[in-house]
Structure formats: C-alpha cells, structure tokens
C-alpha cells in the first residue's frame, strides 16, 4: 500500500448541504462497501492495539476491521457484537474521535482510521446477524427501568444468558434519548426500531407507559412483582435552566422540550400531528454540546432563516462532537463565542441580552481555561430561544426511595460493579454518571449485567 494512502482517510459521503437542511433524513450516508474496504486497508493491525483501550466496551477493533478488509461484513458485525450490542447506533453517534480514534497510531502519521464509520458499515452491510440465545430461560427475572442505551444494553446482556428481562419505559416509545433527543438526521428512527426489535426477538419484554415510582412503586419490584434484581437506567432527563429574567416567555424552550416536540411527537409534521412548536425565523441556541448542535440544526430544518449558537467559551472548549460542529457550520449555523445570557426581553420579537465573557489563562477542574464576565453586553434579536446548558440525573426514583445513596449532582452512587446502596439494585448510564455518552452508558450497563449475573448465580458466556 502506498505511504500517502496511510495519511489520508477515505472521506465519508454526506448529503449536500442545500438538500439536507430541508428535511430530517440522515446527513451522513456512510461508506459504500468499496469505500469501507479501502478505509479498512489503512489499518495497520497493531499487535498491541491502543484503539481497543480507548473503547469503553472493549470492541476488538483490529479484528473486526480485518474482516472488513476481506469484504466479510457479516463476520465484522458478529465480531463487534461480541462486545457491543448496539453497533448501528454507536457507529453513528459515538464520539469516536475522542475515544478509539484518538489512540490510533495512524493519527500520528496523518489521520486516524475512521473506526466509527467502519462500525456503521459493518452494521449497514452485515445483515441481520442473528442473536444466539443461550438455551432455555433461567428462572430468574430482572427489571430494567428505562429504555435508553444503558437499559437496552443491560437487557441484551442478560437476555443472552437466558435471564428473563422486563424493560419498563415511561414514554410511549422506546429508546430514551436516542428517540426523543437525537434527531433522525443523525440517527434514523428505523435504526432504533431495528435494534429494539432485535431485543424483542431475543425474548426481552418491553413495556412503554410505565413510570416506575408512580405506575409501579419502586419497592414493589423486588417484593410484590418478584424481580430478583433491578437495574436503574433512568438517564439524565432533568433539564437545567438559566434562571434569568424572561426565561418563561413564550418561545423560550429547554432543549429537551424543543427536541422532544420534534423527535418524539413529530411537531415537524404539525398539524397532521397534533403537537405544535414555534417555528422561529431567528433562533438562538444557548450551549455548546451535542444537544445545542442538535437543537440548532432542528431549528434550521423547521425553517429558520438565522440560527445562532451562543456559547460561554470558545470553539476549542466546545464539548460537542467535532463532526457535528462541522456539520452545523456547513449548514450555516452562526457560532457566537464568549457570550453568557443575562436576560430575555420582549414578547414575540425578543431581545436576548448576553454578557460578553473573556477567557483567562487559569485552568478549572476540567482542565479548561476559566471564563470571566466582562462589563460589556450585546443583544440578539430573535423569536425563539433554546436553552441547552445540560441535564441533571432524573430525580424521581431517588426522591421516592431515600435509601438510595446519591451524589452531589443527584446521581445515584454506585460501586465499581455498578451496585447501588440497596441490595439487589444496580444503576448505570447517565443516572449514575450525569449526562455523558451512549458508549459510556453501555459500558456501565455491561458491568452491571456481569455483576447481576454473578449475583444471580448465572455463569456468563463471556
């Protein structure tokens, strides 16, 4: 292979900007089979692969890439599935640039191998790699609360070893943030539906419209409902607000509300669907994470002429995935840095008044440069404001079960095996970590599943 091929990654095809901003279809088209094989061939197949260390669930990356090199997509998919049961989702939304790809040796020579896109290719072309189940069900029942990536992963891991698993979800559709938060142009609904169907095929029972703590008292799960163990995966669904004047004006949304109206309730199809949304002409989104990028790009697709992202620091500190920042820029979203909202005034026409900030050389706990307010302010004229400044752990179950030990941010405290302070109860995902990522939620869920199996006296296949 030519030296310069190693330096350059195979570009991932995307839909042209002018076309994609008009609908909610997927932006990234993913590799064709040929492109995937070409990209796979860049992999050096390191004998001590660092990429694997960068993966929270330990996917054997060089091994699955090896199979893609040979054109064996099914084999690649099976290899990934040994460690990761949601590859079609992770291949799309995993922040691989900060994880596996950041460790890739090729990164030093040019660009790291495109592991996320190859994972997606494996899931796109690997077919319906069947799930092997492990004999007849064991007489053990586990309740999983929440159907986001943590809940789904734990359910799958347990079902694989024959445990009878029930997933309870408060909303009427399953998938957690994958469904109500992440827009379809990044994660098509069909991909989520397929993953969920697969779990159902494995025998996992799933029930929507059940808010544990209200519909079923939490303490009844272990007693009256007869579950041998419980896994809490209720996520970080509590939106943080700014607490500034004008925040309750009409057209001021939390990102969760804004995204849920569109992604779950289909407000983009109003009035065929009954849920309305304000389609702003000029929209300001506050924040700098994935949630802010998604909100801005949704606003654009709802027909906004101008969409701003106002962020407290600079682009360097933005927590959003790089590729999403790039996509947002390509689509014409305007990034305004070093701004912190002070007040929202007006009514339909609003004035968003922001304080200008400056960065100092001092570092904070997270290793980022500290920000300080200046005396200067600026104002933006907008009609919709979306607040995307973070979510806190869902407080319902901890507030009803005071024996569950909680941390400072309201997260459920767990030990290294994801056990909570309550016998027979585990927790994982955003409810235990605070808002994080799909793959970290999955990693925690896998640990919990192993621990639950040990507790139930079930030997694991892996």
């Amino acid at each position: 292979m030519e030296g310069k091929d190693i330096e350059k990654r195979t570009p991932i095809p995307e839909r042209p900007v002018g076309e994609r901003v008009k609908d909610f279809e997927e932006v990234s088209l993913g590799y064709s089979k040929e492109e995937a094989i070409k990209e796979a061939k860049r992999c050096l197949g390191c004998s001590r692969p660092l990429c694997v260390e960068g993966c929270p669930v330990g996917v054997e990356i060089p091994a699955f890439i090896e199979r893609i090199k040979e054109g064996d997509f099914k084999g690649a998919l099976l290899k990934i599935k040994e460690k990761n049961l949601l590859p079609s989702i992770c291949g799309r939304v995993c922040p691989s640039e900060y994880q596996c790809e950041s460790k890739c040796v090729l990164g030093r020579l040019g660009a790291p191998i495109s592991i996320g896109a190859l994972e997606r290719a494996a899931s796109d072309y690997g077919g319906e790699a069947e799930e092997e189940s492990n004999g007849p069900p064991k007489p053990k029942r586990v309740a999983v609360i929440g159907s986001g990536p943590a809940g789904l992963t734990c359910a799958a891991e347990l079902a694989r070893d024959g445990v009878e698993v029930f997933v309870f979800e408060a909303l009427h559709q399953l998938g957690g943030v994958l469904r109500y938060g992440i827009p379809s142009f990044r994660l098509p609904r069909a991909v989520i539906d397929r993953q969920i169907q697969r779990l159902k095929d494995m025998g996992v029972r799933m029930e929507g419209n059940v808010l544990v703590g209200r519909t079923i008292p939490f303490s009844d799960l272990r007693t009256k409902e007869g579950f041998d163990a419980v896994f809490i995966a209720t996520g970080a669904g509590l939106p943080q607000l700014l607490g500034i004047k004008g925040e309750n004006l009409e057209g001021v949304y939390s990102a969760n509300e804004f995204l849920t109206r569109v992604n779950l309730m289909r407000a983009d199809l109003f009035p065929q669907y009954g849920t309305p949304i304000k389609r702003g002409k000029r929209v300001a989104v506050i924040g700098g994470g994935n949630v802010a990028m998604d909100s801005a790009r949704v606003a654009l697709r709802l027909g906004a002429d101008e969409v701003y992202i106002a962020y407290r620091r600079t682009e360097e500190e933005m927590p959003a995935r790089r590729v999403e920042i790039e996509h947002a820029k390509e689509e014409g979203i305007r990034f305004l840095y070093l701004l912190s909202p002070l007040e929202i005034r007006g009514n339909e026409e609003k004035e968003l008044i922001c304080r200008k900030m400056r960065l100092s050389d001092e570092l904070d706990e997270s290793g980022r440069r500290k920000v300080f307010p200046t005396e200067e302010t600026i104002s933006l004229l907008v009609d919709v404001v979306v607040v995307a400044i973070g979510q806190r752990p869902n407080p319902l179950i901890p507030s009803l079960e005071p024996r569950l030990a909680r941390g400072r941010e309201g997260e459920i405290l767990v030990d290294e095996e994801m056990r909570t302070s309550l016998e027979g109860v585990w927790a994982g995902g955003d409810i235990a970590s605070g808002a994080a990522t799909v793959i970290l939620a999955m990693g925690m869920a896998k640990k919990a599943a192993q621990s639950i199996k040990k507790y139930l006296g079930i030997s694991s296949r892996r």
Binding site: A170, L171, H172, Y180, G208, N209, V210, L211, R214, T215, I216, P217, G237, L238, P239, L241, G243, E247, N248, L249, E250, G251, Y253, S254, N256, E257, T260, R261, M265, R266, F270, P271, Q272, Y273, G274, T275, P276, N394, P395, L396
Partner: protein, 274 residues
C-alpha cells in the same frame, strides 16, 4: 390495559370515561392525574383522576371537549383503547387530619375535587364542598360530591341552580363564620387566583392544582414550569398542587396562551379530516 369500558356524557361537551388500567388503579392516590394520547398522531394531554376502583382495575376521568386532542379523546368509543395512557402522575395530596377543610371545585375542577374530598373525609376531616359552574347544566357529579361532604354548597354564575354567583362569594361568607384549617381549590385559573386572594389575609393554608401545558409529564421537558414562591417548579413532578399564596398566576396565564393560534389550526385540521 387501556380499554374504554364506559362512556357517559355528563353535560354538553363533558364526557366521563371509565378505562381498564389495572396498574394505574392499584397505585392511584388522591390528587393525581394521567396523561393520554387518543391516537398516535395526538398530543399528550394531562387529565385528572376522578375516581378509581382497585378491585375492578379501572379508572374514571372526566374531561371537557375544548380543542383537538379532547375532541379526539371524545371520539373513542367503548371497546376502543387510547394509543397511550400513563399514570398515575404528580405528587399525591398529603392526606392527614387538618380539621375543617373547604374543597372548592369550579367546572372541570369538580371531578378531581371529588376524590380529594373523599380522601380527606375518610381521614377524619370535616369537609365542606363548594361547587360552582356557569350554568345548571354544567354542574356535574353533584350527588357524588355531596355524598363525600359534610356540608355541600352549590352556586351558578347565572343563578340557574343553587346560589347565584361565584364560588368565591360562598367562600367569603364561610371565612367570616368558620374557623377553616385548609382550603383546596381546583378550577379555572382566575377562580384559583381569586380564592388565593380571599384566603391570604386570613392566613389560611390554601392549595390549588395548576394546569400548565405539559408534554412528557415525567419531569423531562420543563414546559410545565411554574413560578412558586419565586422558584421555578415543574408542575408534573413537583405538583400539580401548590401553595396558592406562593403561585405566580400571571406567569401561568401567559404560558397557557402560548399556542393559541396553533391549537386553532390543529382543531381545524382534525375537523377537516373527520
């Protein structure tokens, strides 16, 4: 789960549904509500629990047809199921011995006030119920509410039944003659606000059940935020019952008007379709 087993018109545009919902019935507590989606394309709307039967595994709700989603709900027939039903939701009312309690239900506030009066009376309180409506035909569930009250007072705006005038008129007379320990009022926002203003000078603990717009109703979206005592609360999980003297009613009214135009369009679209 979810099948409608009884549908009863209580007044013009007011419908009672009895629905099979075993888990909801088993867990229901005084003062809670459910969220319904009549069809897959509907909004999620909150409706208070009026009654439940743990043995039969059913719940009863009463609602008024005001817009698209309540029209859709009213179009479901016995034997059909709404697309989604979630509950019971919200913090239950603290049921204990307060003493003399006045329960006020205005219009569609009457159905939820019924289970509150019942719960408080069973806990040994003396319960005075005041119910009111615009006109006699809208005075629903009179017998039921009366059966769980020690004293029962009725008024209509137009004087077509009971006393002529508002529930606040009846309350202000009681305030002069009785030593009241707790007032609970459910009904239109202006009514709840007026009750709060009446009891405030007397320093009587007053609880109202707020009805902001809701979406998920599980504490995830924040659309139901209300200002109470200067703090932002989420009515679906922190409420919907709050200390009436602390509620910022002006903020609530403004937020309720948010989708007026869209609601009109949604209703038109649905009418055109059926």
């Amino acid at each position: 789960m979810g099948k409608i087993i009884r549908k009863e018109p209580l007044a013009e545009g007011v419908v009672l549904l009895e629905i099979e919902a075993e888990r909801v019935a088993r867990s229901a507590q005084v003062g809670q509500f459910v969220v319904l989606m009549p069809y897959e394309t509907s909004e999620r709307i909150p409706i208070s629990l009026h009654n439940w039967d743990r043995n039969k595994g059913t719940i009863e709700i009463v609602f008024q047809v005001v817009g698209r989603t309540t029209s859709e709900l009213a179009s479901l027939e016995v034997g059909e199921e709404p697309y989604a039903l979630l509950g019971p939701l919200g913090k239950p009312l603290e049921i204990k011995r307060y003493g003399l309690v006045v329960c006020i239900g205005g219009g569609l506030g009457i159905p939820p006030i019924y289970n509150i009066a019942r719960g408080l009376r069973e806990a040994g309180n003396e319960v005075i119920s005041i119910i009111g409506a615009r006109t006699a035909s809208l005075l629903i569930l009179q017998d039921r509410t009366k059966s769980v009250s020690d004293r029962f007072l009725v008024c209509t705006d137009d004087g077509s039944y009971g006393e002529k005038g508002f529930v606040t008129g009846v309350l202000s007379r009681l305030l002069k003659s009785e030593r009241i320990d707790l007032v609970i009022a459910i009904g239109p926002v202006p009514m709840m606000e007026a009750v709060a203003n009446l009891t405030r000078p007397f320093g009587i603990k007053t609880i109202v059940s707020l009805n902001p717009l809701m979406l998920d109703a599980t504490g995830m979206c924040g659309v139901c935020r209300v200002k109470v005592g200067g703090e932002t609360k989420f009515a679906c999980v922190d409420g919907p019952k709050f200390d009436a003297h602390q509620v910022d009613f002006a903020d609530l009214k403004r937020r309720l008007a948010m989708y007026k135009e869209e609601e009109r369009r949604a209703l038109e679209e649905w009418k055109a379709r059926i």
